[in-house]
Symmetry: C2
Subunit: 407 residues, 2 copies
Amino acid sequence: MPRINPERVLSDLRTLATFGAYKTGVHRPTLSGEDIAAREWFANRMREAGLDASIDGIANILGKSPAIGRKALSGSHLESQNYAGWLDGPLGCVYALEAARAISEDPAISDLGVDVVVFCDEEGHFGSFLGSRSFIGVLEEREIDAASNHTTKVPMREALAAAGWAGRPRHVIDPARYAAFFEAHIEQGDTLESTGLKIGVVTAIVAIWQYRFTVEGEQNHAGTTSMKRRRDAGLELVRLLGAIDTRFPEICGPRTVWTTGRIALDPGEKSIIPGEAEALFQLRDADPAVLDRLEAEIHALVQGANRNGRCKIAVERLSASTPALMDRSLQAALDRAAEAHAPGKHMRMPSGAGHDAQWLARKLPAAMMFVPSIGGISHHWTENTSNEDIVLGAQVFADGIVNALRA
Amino acid sequence: MPRINPERVLSDLRTLATFGAYKTGVHRPTLSGEDIAAREWFANRMREAGLDASIDGIANILGKSPAIGRKALSGSHLESQNYAGWLDGPLGCVYALEAARAISEDPAISDLGVDVVVFCDEEGHFGSFLGSRSFIGVLEEREIDAASNHTTKVPMREALAAAGWAGRPRHVIDPARYAAFFEAHIEQGDTLESTGLKIGVVTAIVAIWQYRFTVEGEQNHAGTTSMKRRRDAGLELVRLLGAIDTRFPEICGPRTVWTTGRIALDPGEKSIIPGEAEALFQLRDADPAVLDRLEAEIHALVQGANRNGRCKIAVERLSASTPALMDRSLQAALDRAAEAHAPGKHMRMPSGAGHDAQWLARKLPAAMMFVPSIGGISHHWTENTSNEDIVLGAQVFADGIVNALRA
């Protein structure tokens, strides 16, 4: 079996964390100067590992193995959320590279190979999974034409040109080349930590159903408009969110999550009754039946509010993904690897977050593996995982790939 | 008794509405070009009425009557909220001017006089009642030094210089000169309209107690953080506002109003659990005992939330005014005038909005009179009052002033 090199794994991750270092995390948005430099560095690191690496026209990196036997594809993303953690993305890239290195270094299995892939913009600075969707061949040029950075407003085409990558052809997957896709990631929750476990084997990536609630009331003076007369859009929104908060725990699934990420009142002045209110509301579950049930409840609550209240609430479903099921035999391959290195300290679990693997699963049998997040924190610069857990995860991941390729 | 000139009243109001016309309302922020022009025009209109008018160093206008007998002071403001109504402010200025004109034109009472005053920035583009506070002598130079337009960020000193008024002395009230202060205004609510009444005689201007609620939770990933583990600052705020919504109607006064004008979740992203949440919350009542009771309830609800919830809520009282009581004999003078012209169609009522009169009441016996607002709408360009109600109000107002001066 492959023997990963702990120092090499940690050193690669530490080096990546210097590109856009921010406190103990990183600020490395897609196609920022730091992201471009990190990609160039990582492509060189792939070449040093004997991979034929190139960066394509949408900043994806593909490093192809020279191995003659069965091959896996593995990778993740390198850019970060704004002012976020050092492992969300890079961990999966370095695990993939280390698996490629460790397998090629083991004479007993050096016929096996791992192609390493780094997807662009999983974190969505310019769009939604642009890199992995490009790689599986479902991203049209016009979507890239229209994409611009949500924070800086710089068009993606300009950013690609600044990196020197504009006009290059885009890598597209050759499914016949691979037996499977593997992605490793930090858990981003506290299930592993709170149960004392070390490895999560992902069963499915949950579906995300995203909604916008819009409440239309009547803007008016906060002093002169009686409570009885006012049509307060903000208050009606608070009541709806309160009703969801009361009702959903009674009908949700065991791991359903729902979140109001944004609330805006218009005009948002202290002495003006809001005439309009808006909220972004999100549901996540791996079971479409649960999502259907909760969506029906949202509509029932809104209908009740519109019947009894003084405002008009509209519900718009902005997007609704389907759960991405991970391959069962690949899950078993990861289970066996985890049992070998962390006996009894692994579990099956859904992924509450979206990942590039959900797109790759459309083309290949796919698998994901999680390592613990300290305090369950992610998308924040304090995100972290212990060195021991990082090293253990790298070994389990490499073994899991070999288990799968040998099966 | 004075006979007001309906055409003159309506024509002056229509002319003022041309300065910064916006749809059927006006956009005339304090010291904008349109506001400066409106002030110059109105000062000239004062002079045409025989008043000795001048604009001072904070853009207040004082027009002094040459009458030798008892005098009243009367006026309001000329600037508007952003994209708002044509009568909020100008109505009181034109009523004051028309009272001065009608009284001087009636030989039987031409010894009486009305000084007309136009206050700057009642609408608070630069600060809080800067004009009326200057006029009663409680505004220091350093507050003007520090004031800047909340929308454009232009310093007030610069705006005054651009108008050509910087460096002028500021008018300060001579309380010995006046028997009373009178201000007319649109009601800005629907009490008069919904009861079929024409004139409101104000008993008190309510106190406003303004709060900021701040909730500290933990920013985290909306997909990977279980409902049980998350510390959602936005949800905790929704729960607090819901508890207030449930509890306050049981303990408030008959005309108490409370408003959440702004809610902000940080970072405000669809897939991130808000780590911080903030709301601006306001209470208004004419009875300090009611306000005390509601404030105590806020603290009780917050304590309960902090004991039982997973976030930390802080309540900060940003400001707390005292109610301004209107003079009882002046209320009676307005009652009598209303009964003469609109028998049975007038009522006593508190003002839920703040007005310059609340500051003048510190120096003089003060009175306020309301006319109906169509649909109760104000602070919006659709704000309106019928011509008939405008004309009736002007007559009642002039008579009320004469009743008071003769008393």
